[in-house]
């Protein structure tokens, strides 16, 4: 194992605020350890910038372990970078080589405007959830016993898999149409696979899809790019399930 670190050239999107025009700036970092995470490399750069009296690069992050969905970089043209099944914060520098030039940009989509540098506004995702991403049950101490409602393990597992979406937006950023279908279908699927979600299934899918369209996300043309870049392995199966839920709901709604 070579102990000598990597020297890298970074081409990073800088944009002062939502209304200003941004551009790519070039930075150099030296002696980057392969054991660092990508965001720790960014910390090194920021420390360097602050010491030089320059403004550090603003980027979103929080948990730094791949679960909060806050981090969101487009690295060398790929959402969350070159590794598979990970978020940007889980990406490690061992995926890069000494001398590399790395392009770092925000996720791009009409529905995700840039706020500053690499930080984007993903509140459109929340608004889609407000439209129907829930089961209408109030808090009370009198809900029926959890085991009164057995759920086949296979259904529960599938619902769980869909529910692991972290709302990062990589699917949108990777899609040439900037479609949010993978994200929306993950929530629709979770509930459509569970008996608790059945009662409101029709309204849920119709309302969530309607809100998705309002937010300016594009249409799905089945390119499958979203599934490839999704850090949580959310499957295209969910989109198929949502499409059939949507169809069922539209037909019965009209009838």
């Amino acid at each position: 194992m070579s102990e000598k670190g990597m020297n890298l050239t970074l081409k990073i999107w800088r944009q002062k605020n939502a209304t200003s025009k941004g551009k790519i700036e070039t930075y150099k970092v030296a002696d980057i350890s392969e054991h660092m995470s990508f965001l720790e490399m960014m910390d090194v750069l920021n420390e360097q910038l602050i010491n030089e009296g320059q403004e550090p690069i603003a980027f979103d992050h929080d948990c730094r372990e791949g679960i909060c969905g806050m981090c969101s970089l487009h690295i060398n043209g790929e959402a969350h970078g070159p590794d598979r099944g990970v978020t940007t914060c889980q990406l490690h520098m061992r995926m890069f080589n000494d001398g590399d030039t790395i392009y770092i940009e925000p996720f791009r989509a009409k529905a995700f405007p840039v706020i500053k540098d690499l930080i984007i506004d993903r509140t459109a995702f929340d608004r889609i959830q407000h439209a129907g991403g829930f089961v209408s049950v109030n808090t009370s101490g009198n809900t029926q016993d959890a085991n009164a409602l057995p759920i086949p393990k296979a259904d529960a597992d599938k619902a769980f898999d869909a529910a692991t979406c972290i709302g990062c937006g990589a699917c949108v950023a990777s899609c040439k149409n900037a479609s949010a279908m993978l994200y929306v279908s993950a929530k629709v699927s979770q509930f459509s696979l569970l008996p608790q979600g059945k009662v409101e299934a029709k309204d849920r899918v119709l309302n969530m899809v309607e809100q998705m369209d309002k937010e300016g996300f594009g249409n799905c043309t089945n390119t499958g790019a979203c599934e490839v870049e999704c850090p949580k392995g959310i499957s295209l199966e969910n989109i198929a399930r949502m499409n059939s839920e949507y169809l069922k709901a539209s037909i019965t709604k009209e009838a």
Partner: protein, 671 residues
Amino acid sequence: MSVLDSKIPEGPIKDKWTNHKNKINVVNPANKRLIDVIVVGTGLAGGAAAASLAEMGYAVKAFCFQDSPRRAHSIAAQGGINAAKNYQNDGDSVYRLFYDTVKGGDYRGREANVYRLAEVSANIIDQCVAQGVPFAREYGGLLDNRSFGGVLVSRTFYAKGQTGQQLLLGAYSAMNRQIGKGKIKMYNRHEMLDVVVVDGKARGIIARNLITGSIERHSAHAVVVASGGYGNVFFLSTNAMGSNATAAWKIHKKGAFFANPCYTQIHPTCIPRSGDYQSKLTLMSESLRNDGRIWVPKNMEDVEAIRSGKKKPIDLSEDERDYYLERRYPAFGNLVPRDVASRAAKERCDAGYGVNQTGEAVFLDFASAIQRYGKEAATVNHEPNATKERIIELGAEVIKNKYGNLFQMYEKIVDQNPYKTPMMIYPAVHYTMGGIWVDYNLMTTIPGCYAAGEANFSDHGANRLGASALMQGLADGYFVLPYTIGDYLADEIRTGPIPTDSPEFDAAEKDVRGIIDTLMNIKGTKSVDHFHKQLGKVMWDNVGMARNAQGLEEAQTKIRQIREEFWKDLRIPGEANELNTELEKAIRVADFLELGELFAKDALHRNESCGGHFREESVELDGEQKGEAKRDDDNFKYVAAWEWTGDPGESKLHKEDLEFKDIELKTRSYK
């Protein structure tokens, strides 16, 4: 008499909560609409509280500093949530959960609160299932359980290694329903920077819009602070990067007492640190101790051979390994509580047996479990002649189903395959049992200001059992606060909207602006992280897993020095009236630099060992417990609640004596 009134209801412990609820004042539904409640924080505690209060009809305003309520730090919780359901028919009960929690907390929690927590625990699971939270299930379709440290029953509900995520998304969905109805107004990317107290009552907050930098006033009839724990005072911890103490510290400075700041949980199973650039530490869930066995080599030659790469851990035979937890604690083995497991790892590493380059790592080994599960699976599959490799393959599959995401996380960070070689782990700061003092109603010493979740000093005494933080957060948010807050708000129905143009709001806003201006104008030479790392090092070296009087005194002095330097030499580039991540961090670290000193002061004053607080001066000298932590009930059976007096070093101590009527005070033994 103490100024602290814990308001514990009268009567036998098992009736207290029911009686209290029956007697509590309620607000009629038509009046609830006229009452505003601010909830700071949208983790399990805040999210659950905001949703439930809005469902009841209150007008709720919720705040979080992330871009969405779904990203609160609770999302990262891995292993599970406890509840006294006794689905496994292994003798669990409300009483047993109560008992385990009090004992696990080393008899430093409040009995009545803990009992209530155990009592409502079952409701939490019912509520979450009704919301569509996809917990792990058995083949028969019923809910599955696992066991966690410090207990002998299996009462932990889980969703793979993503339990916190699923529970938080449940609370988030409940919030979304109310946001959609306009009952919750959500303020994302907002940071609360002060509480406003009018005529002695909490009446609102001052918050900074993190996108525009504007300073906003928000009023309400009550303020709930559910802002999480303060583990990041150590710089490195398993907490999210943004987790901070500011909301809690600001209310402390306005009159809310801060209780037991020194009670910190150092979690035994985290990925060891790898270099100075390290920004955070990653937890490997305690649930792994169900199937993982912890060991270091018996012989020093093997330690050296492993460190230098001449030997691999799997080269060592069984009798060359020291399964030190199984050796020292035969009854609980690898499932001793966290504080015990952490100290035992430190003991081995201090003795020179650490297995990595830094000498700060022990093994967590799944080979036996893979074998055991593999054989079971071969039998079930009718493969009597399964080869060794086939058995390992089958066993690894079972392990993957249980902990797949954790193993993946480990491999991505360490670049080693934990199915094939044991994980390396070491203790790290994880959770803070201390926090804002609250009475039985979760009200702080500021009337109308409540604290919930990890932010309060809570129910875990001096040590929290695994899978109990999620339980407490949701208990506070769904089942306790929505009732107890009514008792206070019943007197507010005639108050009318709280104006924000009062002198108190003016003054609070002026203070906040003053702090921001001062920070921006230091124009020194060093970054926020520079000071935060210095603070973290002092905390870890002197106020970490083992503490002594000299080290604690030194820590207080050093923290004061760092604080002085911070206010002289900090550099924040950019402006205050825009998105400025350095300014955000600076405000938080300024508070950590005060909290750290109080933390050390509290640790110094508590001259006993209890739970996560280990004083080297206080150990058992002989008998079966020789070398174990020694509690001193005669002198320290109380909650230490500190009152702000203008300087953290001069804070005033108030004591809430703890009474144990339903559980006998005993030496905690896991032997």
